[in-house]
């Protein structure tokens, strides 16, 4: 099927939904494509309350935020949403985004402007037998457990003490699944103290300076061998020990899904602080291909609240390009820019800010 729209939004997570919400009550024809059967992206899998301010639904649980965000967008007649539809590629000569719905229907979607809000994928880790069944990405564990109500296993070891590792450990405990320990290669816990404290006071140990050497098992995971690391990140001989478990959950970071941006000839750069390859953009979230905007984790790994704010900024900037921006729109963007700045102002935002410096163009 071939169709044209004014604005194509790839991804209906927090960033994509907020971007789409800008076009509610306008005449702009918007198409949103989302690869999951549901809207809200990873928010839907989050049982915890979110940080931030009231405007970003702080204190609301992730799945509830996604309900709020999709509400306005679902009602709008000018916003057409295709779920279970994946962007397959951008074809510059043919002038459209190719998308595939449920593995059965191809859509060729022409557009004036596009917002890429594809989010992130999970990083993997190298260790012996890392491909045994029973070893999951943390996202997979969340999907199994919180979307489908299926326990990933009986006894879990978590690798990584960033926020995701901590949150998913807590979610496992909520689901009644035992978490044996969290291991962390660094000398300090990566995530927020408050998340770590929640699981520590549930008696879950966090072993820092510890890494996984190998997974053990024939058809599926039966245990792991872990080892302590010295200050140079080298294994300390004699500290190897075997822990039994049927599930290993890898929470070792996220990586922006920037394939489409590369296809659309947006200049990208590898920025470790932002999780991987991200597009160069200006403060309007516009890429070097001026028809392309980004928002959310694809622009650099951060929190859902920043994804939402970036979604508003990208949406309003396109509204401006299409010459339909209202004063209200501009206020929304101004506020979003201010909020973002404020959120990134503390010590936790330092890393993001130093990463952003490398990819933010100073000019429009």
């Amino acid at each position: 099927m071939k169709q044209n729209c004014d604005v194509l939004i790839v991804g209906a997570g927090p960033a994509g939904l907020c971007a789409a919400s800008v076009f509610v009550n306008t005449n702009v024809q918007v198409v949103v494509i989302e690869r999951d059967p549901f809207l809200g992206g990873q928010l839907l899998k989050q049982t915890h309350m979110f940080f931030g301010s009231k405007e970003q639904y702080a204190g609301t649980r992730g799945f509830a935020i996604s309900d709020i965000l999709k509400e306005s967008v679902l009602q709008a007649k000018n916003i057409h949403i295709f779920t279970e539809t994946v962007a397959a590629g951008y074809y510059p000569e043919d002038g459209f985004m190719l998308a595939i719905e449920q593995d059965q229907t191809l859509h060729r979607i022409g557009f004036k402007k596009v917002i890429v809000a594809t989010g992130a994928s999970e990083k993997a880790l190298i260790f012996e037998n890392n491909d045994l069944p029973g070893i999951f990405g943390a996202g997979a564990v969340q999907t199994l457990m919180n979307m489908y109500g299926v326990a990933p296993g009986k006894e879990v070891i978590m690798v990584g003490s960033g926020n995701i590792g901590l949150i998913v450990s807590y979610q496992l405990l909520q689901a009644g699944i035992s978490v044996k320990c969290i291991i962390e290669a660094a000398p300090v816990i990566g995530g927020y103290f408050v998340h770590a404290a929640k699981i520590r006071r549930l008696q879950i140990p966090i072993y820092t300076q510890t890494t996984i050497r190998k997974a053990i098992g024939t058809d599926s995971l039966e245990g792991v061998e872990i080892v302590s690391l010295d200050e140079k990140w080298q294994s300390i001989p004699g500290t190897e020990r075997i822990e039994s478990c049927d599930t290993l959950c890898l929470a070792v970071g996220l990586c922006p899904m920037s394939e489409l941006l590369s296809q659309m000839q947006c200049e990208t750069k590898y920025v470790p602080e932002l999780g991987g390859s991200v597009a160069i953009r200006n403060h309007r979230m516009q890429c070097t291909n001026k028809d392309v905007y980004i928002a959310g984790d694809v622009a650099g790994i951060e929190e859902a609240s920043s994804a939402m704010l970036e979604g508003y900024i990208a949406g309003v900037s396109i509204a401006e390009d299409l010459q339909i921006a209202t004063p209200k729109h501009l206020v929304l963007r101004e506020n979003s820019v201010e909020f973002l700045k404020a959120m990134r102002s503390g010590p936790i935002g330092e890393k993001i800010c130093s990463g952003l410096k490398k990819v933010e163009e100073s000019h429009v």
């Binding site: 962007a87 190719l98 229907t105 191809l106 994928s121 190298i126 260790f127 990586c255 590898y270 390859s277």
Partner: protein
């Protein structure tokens, strides 16, 4: 990262091991593209979504450089697989 065990699988689509990748780097094939072409790592069904980052890390580790200095390769479509019969069915000129 434990980089000692050469039998560790890095690209799970094509079962490419750490040893094969280190061998390619040792022979002077130090870009993602060269390693991909010689070892098939990242050429499989997921198109590097799982191993791309690992490859970057391994290259950086082996060459003692920062991952930011590893040359990135161009990512070709499609980003997801498409059955050929679907493409054949679709009329490219229909409006």
């Amino acid at each position: 990262m434990n980089l000692k065990d050469d039998n560790t699988i890095v690209c799970r689509c094509a079962d490419v091991t750490l040893g094969e990748i280190k061998e390619a780097i040792r022979k002077g094939y130090t870009t993602l593209d060269e390693i991909k072409r010689l070892t098939r790592a990242g050429m499989g069904q997921c198109q590097g979504k799982t191993c791309r980052n690992l490859l970057l890390q391994i290259i950086a580790n082996e060459l003692h450089i920062s991952p930011t200095d590893v040359e990135l390769s161009r990512l070709r479509p499609p980003s997801v697989t498409i059955p050929l019969e679907l493409l054949a069915k679709e009329d490219a000129n229909e409006n």
